[in-house]
């Protein structure tokens, strides 16, 4: 089974967009179907169906697409009414056509604005999300950015920092229900937050085998980090046993210090990078796109 398949299903912004599009289409079909079933004038049912292309257009092309499609829908509606206009004159239909036109255009403009705002919000979330949903600790992306920053600081100012990791095997939590698992993870997150200093940063990420808890400890040497990690692993183990989690062995833990443990540090960063890519598959694509836009056509 791939690592992605084992992750908690997380909707990407494309999936959310598709979901909203699908839900909107279902809604419009239901409104039209209800009108048909209740005996609303057939032409008015078709008029409701004309909202569907406007809805698709506003999703694909935003406000401009929505307004243009709204105007086209109004023209289509007027065309449908044309035989009757020929017979009784336009004055009887003017109000009806005007109200429909306003309806289509407002629908297109309002929906286009809302869709583009939602899309940009989701993109922003995809690019800047640094919070782990399960524990409310920091996530893998934060770990990468923060450790990069700490490395630069350590190199520039000749300082040190350490990273402590404690891994909880996912197999140990499988006997619990998903709600219990969430509660246990929140517990561990809370315990970790209360055990660290203000300058430290706690991280939770999960790969296909483990829940990985990490703490970035600025200005901390190897010995201090090792003692902290040992105690943390011990406390985590005790807490898990209290919550009826069946641990076959003691929890794995590691402490590494920069400078000094560069190799294991790079490996750890590589592992968190993989997790981040699985959690935010579209972020790198979005970054490349926005970079290309910033650089302009001459590059």
């Amino acid at each position: 089974m791939s690592a992605q398949a084992l992750m908690v299903p997380r909707m990407s912004y494309t999936a959310v967009r598709r979901f909203l599009l699908f839900a909107g289409l279902i809604g419009l079909v239901l409104i039209a179907g209800l009108g048909y079933a209740r005996g609303v004038d057939r032409l008015e049912v078709i008029a409701t169906i004309l909202f569907i292309p406007v809805f698709v257009a506003l999703f694909l092309w935003g406000i401009k697409g929505g307004v243009c499609a709204g105007l086209l829908a109004a023209v289509a509606y007027a065309t449908l009414r044309y035989p009757a206009i020929q017979v009784v004159g336009s004055s009887r239909f003017l109000g009806l056509i005007l109200s429909r036109t306003v309806g289509y255009v407002v629908f297109g403009a309002m929906g286009g604005w809302a869709a583009s705002q939602l899309e940009s919000s989701l993109e922003k979330l995809e690019l800047y999300d640094q919070v782990d949903d399960e524990t409310k600790l920091n996530n893998a992306r934060f770990f990468l950015e923060n450790t990069d920053m700490e490395k630069s600081r350590a190199q520039r100012y000749q300082t040190i920092f350490s990273v402590a990791t404690v891994d909880v095997p996912r197999s140990a939590l499988r006997s619990l229900s998903s709600r219990q698992q969430q509660s246990v993870l929140r517990d561990l997150g809370g315990m970790l937050t209360s055990s660290i200093r203000t300058v430290d940063s706690a991280v939770h990420a999960r790969d296909d085998l483990r829940h990985r808890f990490a703490v970035i400890l600025p200005e901390t040497g190897n010995e201090g980090a090792r003692i902290f990690t040992q105690r943390l692993a011990h406390r985590f183990g005790e807490q898990l046993r209290r919550r009826s989690v069946n641990l076959e062995a003691d929890l794995e833990f590691a402490a590494m210090t920069f400078p000094g443990d560069e190799t294991s540090f790079s490996e750890l960063q590589g592992e968190f990078e993989q997790i981040d890519q699985i959690e935010h598959p579209e972020a790198s694509l979005l970054r490349n796109t926005s970079q290309a836009e910033e650089e302009g056509p001459e590059h």
Partner: protein
């Protein structure tokens, strides 16, 4: 500037709010009101527009066995017509409400394949509301029928 989180929430609200537009346009009032009853007019017309003179009108009532002639009890549609010129016919569309309740009514006039909605609006109890609509017809034979559409 509106904060990012607030803007996202407003956008989500607007996204759901916009679906009120197609719902409201299928209004409970007016031409597209929801129906509780639908019955044909007592008197359909055949209109003959000749090259010279006023249009000719022939009316006929349909008698059908085992079919309720008026499923909308207490509400009647009885079309009337008069010539308005060589190729113009004014159709009067009265709805009489003999019930003790008010109703929203409209009439769908069918001229061949063309339907013309006529908004009557609210018909108070024990009253009649009507509208007159002028048809401009090409030469030939035309069949005109009306359907009474009632809603709450």
């Amino acid at each position: 500037m509106v904060p990012f989180i607030l803007r996202s929430r407003i956008a989500l609200f607007a996204f759901f709010l916009m679906f009120l537009i197609p719902i409201l346009e299928q209004s409970l009032r007016g031409l597209t009101h929801l129906l509780v009853c639908n019955s044909d007019a007592k008197t359909p017309f055949t209109l003959v527009v000749s090259e010279k003179g006023d249009p000719l009108m022939a009316s006929s009532a349909r008698l059908t066995r085992d079919v309720d002639p008026n499923p909308c009890k207490g509400l009647d549609l009885n079309l009337g017509a008069r010539a308005e010129g060589e190729d113009r016919v004014a159709i009067t569309v009265p709805i009489s409400n003999t019930t003790t309740y008010g109703w929203q009514g409209s009439v769908r006039l069918s001229l061949g394949n063309t339907t013309v909605p006529v908004k009557i609006g609210e018909i108070p109890p024990k009253q009649t509301r009507e509208d007159t609509i002028v048809f401009q017809l090409p030469r030939g034979l035309h069949e005109l029928d009306g359907s009474l559409l009632l809603g709450p």
